[in-house]
């Protein structure tokens, strides 16, 4: 693996983010920078987290503790597209269970698994604050709402191309 370093442009952004907080409070930048790191390297390996710790002059354990607390950070390798579906009450009322079962069958994997071709990972998440537009899943920043089995097929087809 090549050395873990942000591109210059991202490093500029890191500096800007740290400047949002008072002097000495640079640890506050941890979540925003973990997001940047995950966007860059797909998942938060211990090497990535150690690098983030060095950027903020904090100890690595502080990063591990935080990254493992929040569910958005992947501590294991993931596929190219991470599908995070909402399994909470309102989405279930709207037929979420059937739709998500279809998703799993279609990709032939279970929650928490990655397809053999490394293309898709499915994760189960809690409420995504889109209850009126459920069932919902999220792939990176994008929300897919009012899901049906047909819609799921279309989305998978599109992303499989």
């Amino acid at each position: 693996m090549s050395k873990i370093v942000f591109p210059a442009e991202t490093l500029e952004l890191v500096k800007k983010i740290i400047a949002r907080y008072p002097d000495g409070k640079q640890k506050s930048a941890l979540l925003p920078i973990l997001h940047l790191a995950q966007a860059e390297w797909k998942w938060c390996s211990s090497e990535v987290m150690d690098y983030v710790a060095s950027l903020l002059s904090i100890s690595p354990i502080e990063v591990y503790e935080v990254a493992s607390f929040y569910t958005m950070f992947h501590l294991e390798p993931v596929g190219e597209h991470v599908i995070e579906y909402c399994r909470t009450g309102p989405c279930c009322l709207m037929g979420g269970v059937e739709v998500y079962d279809h998703l799993k069958k279609r990709l032939k994997i279970n929650t928490g698994e990655t397809t053999k071709d490394g293309k898709f990972t499915i994760k189960e998440v809690e409420c995504l604050a889109a209850c009126g537009w459920g069932p919902v899943f999220q792939i990176r920043e994008k929300y897919y709402m009012h899901l049906t089995k047909e819609k799921v097929d279309e989305i998978i087809d599109e992303l499989s191309k």
């Binding site: 949002r20 008072p22 409070k25 640890k27 506050s28 930048a29 941890l30 979540l31 925003p32 973990l34 997001h35 903020l56 904090i58 502080e62 503790e65 935080v66 990254a67 607390f69 929040y70 569910t71 958005m72 950070f73 995070e84 399994r87 909470t88 009450g89 309102p90 279930c92 009322l93 709207m94 998440v125 809690e126 409420c127 995504l128 604050a129 889109a130 209850c131 009126g132 537009w133 459920g134 999220q138 990176r140 920043e141 994008k142 929300y143």
Partner: protein
């Protein structure tokens, strides 16, 4: 009467020029140029505006608790960590009209004497964070943020902070911990954030909707705001409506309309989906007690229930519920209460930070017991066990997540005990796909 969403469907209202064309940022002009911070606070107090995040604590009073020691910075932090199942109003408002929140942030920060403020948005809403960042940049470009705003001498920097996926960060002290780059463990209180908040400095944490409402209050006066609504439930409220209704979505209602109107009127939810009947409602987000149809429409005393803090809590937890965050989840007769309660219990189990033992262990226990009942392995004693576990969590935890986890379980058993018993006594029927208990003689409403 619409205050927050009046122009929400105007094309490009998310851009500052269109927003200003529709009267946007006039509250900043008025507050910074013609009012003192105390005068703004006074109007907010007069308005009777109550915290829209769920607790309903008067905003003006919360502001007045803010400690103001010399030489110590003060902070306003906007709680946009909306994650309570059933609630998606803040998501909607920030996505459609980011400047509504930013204007409120400027006005509120001015009132509190904060020169740096943060909007803590749940990390999943990264696209909304991008929308807010862009809108904030527009506000800087127009001189509405930064140094010496509109020549008033007042400086304000506004930043967006992403969360990382943790419902608990909606609890204000957990949010502050998270904003400090730590695990979202709620703090023991006292001290309260008003005295020791962000980086141990005096801090006010308010919900998106509360902050957004302050601009209208500045423009129109606290009295005008208080004139809307009923009693101590003043102004308008964003209600997130979901579940088995014809028109799910976010609605801004004047507090005080009847629950019946809200569910059945075409102006709001448009009634229960075709061919079905109302069975139950969770009126204020997943944590508030679920009520069966007859008790959500009328109080135990037979009065029409209103969409207000007081009317929804009429009867206490025995026969009432709470307005909470306004997450209005409607269930028709096809909804299985046991399954729905399980999904909520799983949620709180998953979201418990794990600091204090009643919540850490109790939420997992309730989840496991409910899971057994749902899958046909319930025991007769499990129902009373759940009630007792809920009782042992409630009130004994560091933060309200423990209460939020125990109320929905206790309430579901309170009002739908027969449904739980049916699951336990007839596992072969209850575990059939799509099977739902039908109460004998149940007359779920239209």
């Amino acid at each position: 009467m619409k205050i927050l969403t009046e122009h929400i469907d105007v094309p490009n209202i998310d851009t500052i020029d269109v927003f200003m064309k529709h009267g946007g940022y006039s509250a900043v002009q008025k507050a910074l140029k013609k009012m003192t911070p105390d005068e703004v606070t006074e109007e907010v107090k007069k308005s009777g505006l109550r915290g829209r995040g769920g607790a309903g604590f008067p905003v003006g009073m919360k502001w007045s608790f803010l400690a103001k020691p010399e030489g110590v910075p003060r902070y306003l932090v906007c709680n946009a960590d909306e994650s309570e199942p059933g609630t998606f109003k803040d998501h909607y408002l920030m996505w459609k009209s980011p400047h509504t929140l930013i204007e409120g942030m400027i006005v509120s920060s001015f009132a509190l004497g904060a020169n740096t403020s943060y909007i803590y948005v749940r990390g999943e809403l990264m696209y909304v964070i991008n929308i807010l960042e862009k809108a904030i940049q527009e506000a800087y470009d127009k001189g509405l943020l930064g140094k010496n705003i509109l020549g008033s001498g007042y400086d304000l920097d506004l930043f967006v902070q992403p969360g990382g996926g943790a419902y608990i960060c909606g609890e204000e002290t957990a949010l502050l911990e998270s904003l400090e780059g730590k695990r979202g463990n709620p703090r023991n209180k006292p001290p309260f954030p008003a005295v020791k908040g962000l980086w141990q400095c005096p801090t006010v944490v308010n919900n998106v909707e509360s902050i957004a409402a302050t601009s209208w209050i500045v423009n129109n006066g606290g009295d005008a705001y208080a004139a809307i609504g009923v009693g101590r439930s003043t102004g308008t409220k964003l209600i997130s409506a979901s579940g088995h209704i014809k028109k799910p979505g976010v609605y801004e209602i004047p507090l005080g309309i009847t629950v019946e109107d809200f569910i059945y009127s075409d102006e709001w939810c448009g009634g229960i989906r075709e061919g079905h009947k109302l069975k139950a409602v969770v009126a204020g987000g997943s944590s508030v007690p679920i009520l069966p149809a007859e008790l959500i429409l009328t109080t135990a005393a037979g009065e029409k229930r209103l969409m207000t803090y007081e009317s929804l809590s009429d009867g206490g937890f025995a026969t009432g519920t709470m307005l909470g965050s306004g997450g209005f989840v409607v269930m028709d007769e096809t909804a299985c209460i046991v399954h729905n309660t399980l999904t909520f219990a799983k949620f709180y189990h998953h979201e418990s930070c794990g600091q204090c033992s009643p919540c850490r262990e109790g939420t997992g226990w309730m989840d496991k017991v409910l899971n057994r009942i749902e899958h046909g392995q319930g025991r007769k004693e499990d129902i009373d066990l759940l009630v007792d576990v809920a009782k042992k969590i409630e009130g004994n935890t560091i933060c309200p997540l423990g209460d939020a986890a125990s109320w929905p379980v206790a309430a579901a058993i309170r009002h739908f005990r027969d449904e739980f018993e049916w699951h336990i006594e007839h596992p072969e029927l209850a575990t059939k796909p799509g099977a739902v208990f039908m109460r004998k003689g149940a007359s779920w409403t239209k």
